[in-house]
Every structure is written in C-alpha cells, then in structure tokens.
C-alpha cells in the first residue's frame, strides 16, 4: 500500500487540494486510469479489470474560456467546466473516459469529448433508460455488458465472475465505511464538519478503492477519538442537489451558524447509500445503478402503470429516503441548491419543497452558476435562512 506522512483528515485535505496527484503517480507506475462522469458508470467493472476509476469533476475556480468552441453557453455550467478543462488538457492523465446518458448535456459532453479532446484513447457512452421498469433494467444490463466488452478490449483481459465479485465487495465495503462516517454526524454537534466530509469523499473519488478504504478507516478512527470537535451550531441542515463538489459552498453554509449534517447529492449519499447485491453479476449492477441509486434523472412513480394517482403518495414514494435522513440526522432545515440550466433538478424544486413542508422542514432554493464568484449573493440568503430557523 501507499506510504505517506499524512494520515486521515489531513491526508484527505491534501488530496482534495490536488486530486489528480495519486492518479498520476499510479499511471507512471503502469496503471491505467479510467475517468468517469456522473454516478452511472459502474466503477466495479473498471476496478475488476485492474484499472483505477477516477471521477471527473469540474473546477469552480477556473474561468471557462475554451468551452464556447464546442458548446453553447446556456447549458449546465458543471459540464461546461468539464469540457473546458478537457480542452485545456487538464485531464491528460486519464487513459480513458466513460460517461452515461444521465441527462441531455451529459450525453452530449461525452460525444464532444470524443470529437475534440484527443488525450484519452478510450471513450465510451453508456445509454441509461429513463424509467426503472423491469424491461429497462434488462436493457441497462445490456448496455453495461457493452461497456464491459469495450473495456475488456482496452484492458487486454477478460472480466471473470470472481474478479467482478471481488470488486463489488471492495466498493460495497467503501460504501459501508462512508455510511459509518455519516453516522458520526448524527451527534450534536456532528463529529466532523461537512467540509471535512467533502474532502474525504472527493479523495475517495480520486483513489483506487482499496486506498480509499484505508483512508476511510484512518478517518473514522481519528474522528471518533478527536478532542478538537467542531463547534455546536444553531441549525442542522440537509443539502440537496447535483454536484456539490467544492468545499467553498459548504464553508459558506457552515459560516452562517449552521452544520450540514447530511445530504442528498451526488458527491454524497447518492453515491454511497446503495450496495450492489449478490450474486454480484451484471444484472445486480444494473439493479443497483438504475433502481437503487436515487437521482431525479430517473423517472419514478409509486407504481408503474398505476391508474389512480395520489400527489402526496407519489411524492412520498419518490422522496421518503429524504424523510429518513431528516429523522435520523435530526435536521431542522434544508438547502436545495442547483446549477443554472439543470432541468433534471429544476423541475423537482416546487414539489420537493412541498414535500419538505409536509415534514415541517423549512427550505430555501439557491441556484448558482458553478463559479466561486457566484457565491457572495448566496451567503446573505443562506444567513437569512438560518436566521429564520428559530
């Protein structure tokens, strides 16, 4: 394993500051690094074929200067940032990139990557059906199979049932450890801040799964034993929305006398809440990623083909995992954040706020353009929101 001088939270902080570092080291040592965008590409397959999955994020502090050549401006700024970084060669340490048809622009991004970013010799786009119906799961399994075949060619080896099982176990272990880490945020005050949590999670997305698991064990031990506990704040919040991959947003919220104790974001619980189940085959992967992973890009209703509908019942079937989080982490308010031009999340907002209302949880919706300078006006609103929470 890796020898390093820093451990635990300090190590996570270091990795967060330059997350491509370890990937570059491993690449020099002969490992193949496969970048992935969004949560739908099954990382287990990458790990099982002896390669390192590396989640691709944008960069909120980098002004977008190259993306306009290939993309219009009124699209998701997170994805625009990714293609911008790609065009500038910032991801040249990736041997490949895999994305999924999770949203219109997400799909277009991978297609543009293939045409314009020449660094990565391997690119693959996995189609994801829009619903979680049974035939859709089977279709998605077919798409995962197609990805597997393509990656096998690139890896120069075949995927066996055993290799896949082992990879699933490793990634499941990571998810369990993350859930254990989140449990440490149930106390009042939580044993670690949301900034510290995010640094750990971003580190996990930048390391091979075993190294990530090692880091998690160090962090959990450190946090349980720590003397320098975070201060108690006035409010305990849940944060919802897409790509919350930068600590500046969490810092802003925490400085407003609030602790973010749990979330429903894709750099958070969405990635770690559901495990792959036995028998750890492609069908199990399809089930986990399409059905068990909760993201608004998938059309869900309380019962496919129901002829009688009930608004509140429908909302509860779609969002009751948030109810559980609110209860288990004792949340008093919710911040719904999204990037401008995100339809997937934008259409959810009024209905989700209504649902939270029925739970007695006040909420606020903030929209930003995924740049650090868009944060200043948000600060006042977040502060005012916390001020309204009794």
């Amino acid at each position: 394993m890796v020898t390093t001088t820093t451990k635990g939270l300090s190590r996570a902080h270091e990795i967060y500051a330059d997350r491509g570092n370890r990937a570059r080291e491993l690449r020099k040592a002969g490992k193949k690094i496969v970048g992935y965008i969004c949560l739908y590409p099954p990382v287990e397959i990458i790990t099982a074929l002896g390669m390192v999955p590396f989640r691709v994020f944008g960069d909120m502090s980098e002004p977008i200067t190259a993306a306009d050549q290939v993309s219009t401006t009124v699209v998701c700024p997170f994805l625009r940032s990714i293609i911008d970084l790609g065009l500038k060669g910032k991801f040249n340490f990736l041997d490949g990139i895999v994305g999924a048809h999770t949203c219109d622009i997400g799909m277009t991004l991978v297609i543009s990557w293939r045409d314009y970013v020449k660094d990565a010799p391997f690119t693959h786009l996995i189609d994801v059906p829009h619903t979680d119906h049974a035939p859709a799961v089977d279709y998605f399994e077919g798409q995962i199979n197609s990805f597997k075949r393509h990656l096998e060619e690139f890896a120069g080896e075949k995927l066996t049932g055993d290799k896949l099982k082992r990879a699933c176990e490793l990634h499941n272990r990571q998810r369990r450890l993350v859930r254990e880490l989140y449990d440490l945020r149930k106390s009042d005050p939580p044993l670690l801040t949301s900034t510290e949590t995010l640094e750990v999670l971003v580190s996990l997305f930048s390391l091979p799964v075993e190294e990530g698991n090692e880091l998690l064990e160090e962090v959990i031990k450190e946090v349980k034993e720590r003397k320098d506990r975070p201060a108690k704040k006035k409010a305990r919040l849940l944060v919802w929305g897409p790509v919350f991959d930068n600590t500046s947003l969490y810092e802003l919220i925490e400085s407003a006398d609030a602790s973010v104790v749990v979330d429903d974001t894709c750099v958070g619980t969405r990635a770690f809440w559901a495990d792959v189940k036995a028998p750890y085959d492609l069908h199990a992967l399809a089930q986990r990623y399409l059905v068990d992973l909760k993201c608004p890009r998938t059309y869900r209703q309380s019962e496919p083909g129901e002829t009688k509908r009930d608004y509140d019942k429908d909302l509860d079937s779609r969002f009751n995992y948030i109810k559980k989080a609110v209860t288990d982490w004792n949340v008093s308010g919710a911040i719904l954040q999204s990037v401008k031009y995100c339809d997937t999340h934008g259409y959810e907002v009024p209905n989700l706020r209504h649902y939270l209302d029925t739970l007695g949880i006040p909420s606020i919706y903030i929209e930003h353009d995924y740049s650090e300078r868009s944060l200043a006006p948000i600060k006042t609103r977040v502060e005012a929101f916390v001020e309204t929470l009794g």
Binding site: D68, Q69, V70, S71, T72, V74, V75, H101, C103, D104, I105, M107, T108, V110, I111, S112, R114, D115, H124, L125, I126, D127, P129, H130, T131, H133, A134, P135, A136, D138, Y139, G142, S146, P296, R297, Y299, Q301, P304, G305, E306, T307, K308, R309, D310, Y311, L315, S338, K340, Y341, D343, T344, G346, Y347, V349, P350, N351, R353, H354, Y365, E367
Partner: protein, 453 residues
C-alpha cells in the same frame, strides 16, 4: 406549426410563395384542435402527450383516444403572443425561469386552470385551450424536460402518468452488432406494458387490426413526406421552411385523420414536383442564397422570414427534429409492437452508420452534413434558444463541422421559442447583410476545393 392566419396581401407582393397544398394540412391541425375540444366537452377523456416519434401516437389513435400536444399548444401561445401570463404563472409557483418555454407555458397553464380557475380552462387561452388531462404521456426521447415537466404536473393534476422509453446514444455505441436486437426487445416489452396500461385505464381493449392499419398509413405518410424532402433539393428551392413548419404536424404526430393527411401530402408532393418542373421557387424574389435553418423556429416572429426572402434568402430546408427519415421496411415483422418500436427507433438510429463512416460522433452533425450536401446550402441560420438545451447544444459542433468539412458558414442568432424579447430582428437584419459577403466568400472556397456548389 399553426401560425395565426395571415390576411392575403393582394396589393403588396408576398415575399414567400406559399404552397396551395400547405393550407389543407394546416387546417387539418386546426380542425383537429376543434374536434378534440368538442370531444372533451362531451366528456371524452383527453390525453396530454409529448412528441414521441410515433411510438405513443399510434396506440393512442388506434384506441380512439382524444389527444392534445402541449408542446404544439405552446407554439400557438408563442405565435399569438399570449404566452406571458402562463410563463409568469409558472415562475410564480417556484419553477426556475431558465426552463423550456413550452414547459413553462404548460405548467403555467395547468396552474392557472387548477389553482386560479377552479379546474376550468383559463378564459384567455387561445383556440379554446386544452381540456383537463386524463393521462399525462411523457417521453424520454430528444430531451429530459419532456418527462420531467409532466412529472412536475402532478402538482396540479392527479391524472395517471406514463413515460415512454426511446434510447438515444453516441454513434459508435449505437452501431454495435447486437444492440438492435436487445434494444428492440426492450422497446417491445415496454410497448406491451404501455398498451396494457391504456386498456386498464380507459377500460377498453386495443383494436390490434386498427393499430396495424394505422402503422401502415403512418409508413405511407412518411414515405410521401420523405419524397417531398428529396424533391425539395431542386434549385431554386421549391418549398420555403415556413410552409414546412405550417404543414408538419400531420406527419410529426399524426394530427387529424391519417387517410386525409396522406391525401394532402400526396397533393403536396405533386405540387412541389410541378414547381420543380417549372423551376418555380418557394420565394417570390430571385433566389440568391440557399439557407438551412437549425433548429426550432421563432414561432413568435415568423414574419421575419419575409424580410429575408426580400433579400433573396430562400430557406430550402430546416429543423431535422421535425422531419421523419425514410421509413424502414416493416413488412417482415408481424408483431405490431415490434413494427412500432422499429419505426420510432429509426428516427435517430437511421443515421448512425453513416456518421460512423464519416468519423462523426454526434448524429445531429451527420444529419446536417447530409442536408448541406444534398441541398447545396450556402449557409446555416443557427438559432440557439436560451430555454432549449436539447435543440441548441449541438449547434456549435454542427457549425464547426459544416465549416471544416464543407466550408459552409453559419450565422449565429440567439433567441427563444416563447419569449420574443430575446430576439432582436433589427440587429439580425444588419448582420444578415454582412453574412452575405461571408457566404459569397465560402462559395468561392468550396469551388476551389472541388465541391460542386
């Protein structure tokens, strides 16, 4: 689509040479509206459907259901300048303002109907409005908004919902050997479940013979419209884009009686062919430039094309998303659900092989390269929309590849489908003049490259 009726300008020369055969098709759509509304008033349940590229339209029609297309209705709101109160209503209920203009209109309409008008059609809704839905049929094809916004409508309607599936992929993965088989299998299963659901909901059985008949008619309509597209390649262009937009619904979502529609399209094919024989043009001014319009038209400002026609700009083709490709041969399939699946899937998948050969990853790019070659285009009029990502996001790469591969330049004009305040006609006309010089220049460049236009 359906514009407001223009009084005939008998004194002044009309800029666009409208096809006689366009009017019956436009009337078919308007009549369809009236019929649908009447049926709703008589208590017949009404389905709100998204454009679903025939996958959903045909089963609904085969079961004799009343259908309304909110996306189409929204273009009416735009064209008649009555969208604002609906857009405002959507904003006031907390929906983000950057969303699709069609989506905002429908959400606003639903809000005003249910929360402000006690379930009745808002009095200022043009063409009688849309009746309360008995089913919300969303579709995943083309863009996410088109199933997310129907899902959001649960806020106002307890109507049952269904989301139709249709894959869209990158061209390389879309041409894999075994893909078609398991993809069609998937779509067939979904269609069967969808039809069972319709039977349960509306308490009537699917008339399978009728469905077969309609699929057959659909193929014949599409064969005809495809031929019209081919014939339109003549110089000068015999049919202006505005005529296409007015007459496409009976082929795009089978508005109206399909037998009548087929006859109308056959008439249109004859008329267009006659124009070609007589070298008659789609504009009443000499054709100086052949333009392709991409993608969604400015419904609120269609008069703008008159000004461009006066400059000799003939819009010879347009909006790939509204055109059907050459229909596939469905004769070897016996299961009507399989026929449907293949017909619908063909909309995008017909182009993937060619794109792969041309080394282009984005299918939309390949479609437009084909169009530029086929129609000998002098330039592209790119109209990205601030509220429509799906129809706009590929336009930059289309622009880039058209320039790189074919030396066809593009004029970039931002706008919106519903909100006309974003579009500045004066400014565009000024740039259009300058763009003529660009087109002249690249005509020479193409000649020197050995291209034949």
């Amino acid at each position: 689509m359906s514009e407001t009726a223009t009084p005939a300008k008998t004194e002044q020369k009309r800029a666009i040479n409208r096809l006689k055969s366009m009017y019956p098709l436009r009337n078919l759509v308007q009549q369809d509206y009236v019929n649908t509304l009447q049926a709703s008033n008589e208590g017949k349940p009404t389905v709100w459907a998204m454009l679903n590229y025939w996958e959903g339209d045909l089963p609904l029609k085969a079961m004799g259901l009343n259908i309304v297309y909110p996306e189409n209705y929204a273009t009416l709101l735009a064209a008649s300048g009555t969208a604002e109160p609906f857009l405002d209503a959507s904003d006031s209920d907390g929906f983000p303002t950057h969303m699709c203009g069609y989506g905002r209109s429908t959400i606003g309409y639903s809000y005003r109907m249910m929360k402000e008008n006690g379930g009745k059609i808002p009095p200022d809704a043009p063409m009688g409005g849309m009746a309360k839905p008995a089913l919300l049929l969303g579709s995943g094809i083309i863009c996410d908004a088109r199933f997310k916004w129907f899902q959001a409508l649960a806020r106002y309607f307890d109507a049952p919902q269904w989301c139709l599936e249709m894959p869209m992929m990158a061209t390389a993965e879309g041409t894999e050997a075994d893909l078609e088989e398991y993809q069609v299998k998937f779509l067939v299963k979904e269609l069967k479940d969808f039809i069972s659901f319709l039977e349960k909901l509306f308490k009537k059985k699917m008339d399978w013979a009728r469905l077969e008949e309609l699929i057959d008619l659909a193929v014949r309509i599409h064969e005809t419209t495809y031929q019209i597209s081919e014939v339109r390649k003549a110089i000068p262009g015999p049919m202006h884009s505005t005529d296409f937009w007015s007459s496409m619904p009976p082929a795009l979502f089978f508005a109206g009686d399909m037998k009548v529609a087929l006859k109308c399209y056959q008439d249109m094919l004859a008329e267009v062919q006659e124009r070609v024989n007589n070298k008659a043009s789609g504009i009443n001014y000499p054709e100086r430039y052949r333009l392709i319009f991409a993608e969604l038209p400015p419904w609120h400002s269609l008069k703008f094309f008159d000004k461009l026609a006066e400059m000799g700009w003939n819009f010879v083709f347009e909006s790939f998303g509204y055109h059907n490709p050459k229909p596939p041969d469905l004769s070897k399939y016996s299961d009507p659900c399989e026929k449907l699946a293949r017909l619908s899937r063909n909309f995008m998948f017909n182009i993937y092989e060619e794109a792969k050969r041309d080394n282009v990853s984005n299918a939309v790019v390949e479609i437009y390269l084909k169009i530029a070659r086929g129609f000998k285009a002098d330039g592209f009029f790119m109209h990205p929309l601030i509220s429509c990502r799906a129809a706009s996001c590929s336009l930059r790469t289309v622009q880039h590849f058209e320039q790189e591969k074919l030396d066809v330049p593009s004029l970039w004009v931002e706008g919106d489908i519903i909100d006309k305040r974003v579009f500045n006609p004066q400014e565009v006309l000024a740039r259009a003049e300058a763009f003529e010089q660009t087109m002249d220049h690249y005509k020479k460049v193409r000649k020197s490259r050995g291209l034949d236009w």
